[in-house]
Symmetry: C2
Amino acid sequence: MNNDYLNDSDSEKENSLTQDYSNRTIKRLPLYLRMLRQMQSNGETYASSAYVAETLMIDPVMVRKDLSCTGVHGKPRIGFLIADLIPAIERLLGWDGNVQAILLGVGRLGSALLGYPGFLKYGFRIAAAFDINPAVKGVISDIPVYPPEKMKEVVEKESVTIGILALPAAFAQEGADKLVAAGVRGIWNFTPIRIVVPKNVVVRHEDLASGLALLSHKVFCEK
Amino acid sequence: MNNDYLNDSDSEKENSLTQDYSNRTIKRLPLYLRMLRQMQSNGETYASSAYVAETLMIDPVMVRKDLSCTGVHGKPRIGFLIADLIPAIERLLGWDGNVQAILLGVGRLGSALLGYPGFLKYGFRIAAAFDINPAVKGVISDIPVYPPEKMKEVVEKESVTIGILALPAAFAQEGADKLVAAGVRGIWNFTPIRIVVPKNVVVRHEDLASGLALLSHKVFCEK
DNA sequence: TAGATTGTTAATCGATTAACAATC
DNA sequence: TAGATTGTTAATCGATTAACAATC
């Protein structure tokens, strides 16, 4: 059974026969990246797994195993060369190029995502946003908002590869279809709907409810 | 090693000796809940695991196993009584009472969360928000915004149990300390910082970067 | 050298999937 | 009864943790 759509689809196989990094490793890489960048801007040259592990509260063995996926080798008694590690992680995440994205649905969540400055750190740029409602046409947070008809044109002109779905649930599948038709290769889905897409399109389902479920279950139902 | 802080801390043990539902099950429960509510509002009485599984694209065996945690028993050839399942899931998630929450940091993400109407479906209510910046004082999306000094007072008066952390990274730990001092029992952390809290406070780290990492790795680095 | 750190292999743990019995 | 569906036990798979060898 295919579980790609779930928020934490850590258990997939598909075409990952040769990869020796797990999904959990991939999810931790941004933590390392953020920390390493900070260390670098503090003037540090090497990072030891013990130090990284303690700061991020992760087991040091896991840190070494995760970092070994980058291909960078640490030096015993010294640690890993930060200047090597950062680009290696970026490459592993596909964050080295300039990834162009578009956003569908400029509601509350959509606007928040448009204004989020962090995406650039991930080599990400939201090239444009789209909304059916003509009232939101214009420019929000320096990003132009167009009607959906212009989607394909923008995707082609700007080489957009990622679509962000922030529509009301009722329009989720319709929006996904439009994104696929326009030619995106990955969809970051913020709706609670499991959208159906062709096999060659990757979907990441970002579900706030599942996170909240875990938190409130632990607070109210345990101990 | 304690991994509670990670976005997908699916591997914890702690005080869950007697529980027979896994973290992954808990994360899936909101999906079932949403679907069952929709079915109920469509006038349906029973839900079969096969139908739920197909709609949500989950293995039917897993659906049955997940639903069995609720204590509700399905009837062979018929399915599960929706009217029993809904309150059972709500109880398992702690979503049956009226959970009061407060939000720290009324920036872009914070405002989006304030305006998100979905929380009420999860039995959640944001009672108040707090921000150091006096300029944002007032009312946003019908929710009052106060200076941090009022936090403890509000937590006590409104029986607040959950704190939502939507501050800039640099103030994350400071904000967490304030939430703990004010008496919340759980923190939903939207900053990329691993905050340190006493053992009796539950933290859920909601990390968009990890989701994006998985998506872009699959799009750009696989196949 | 001694000691700190890396990096790998084996054991364990948790979650999913497969097989199948039970039930209406 | 026959057949569809539930529900449980065993096998498999993936990820973490433990143990320890290798290296500077």
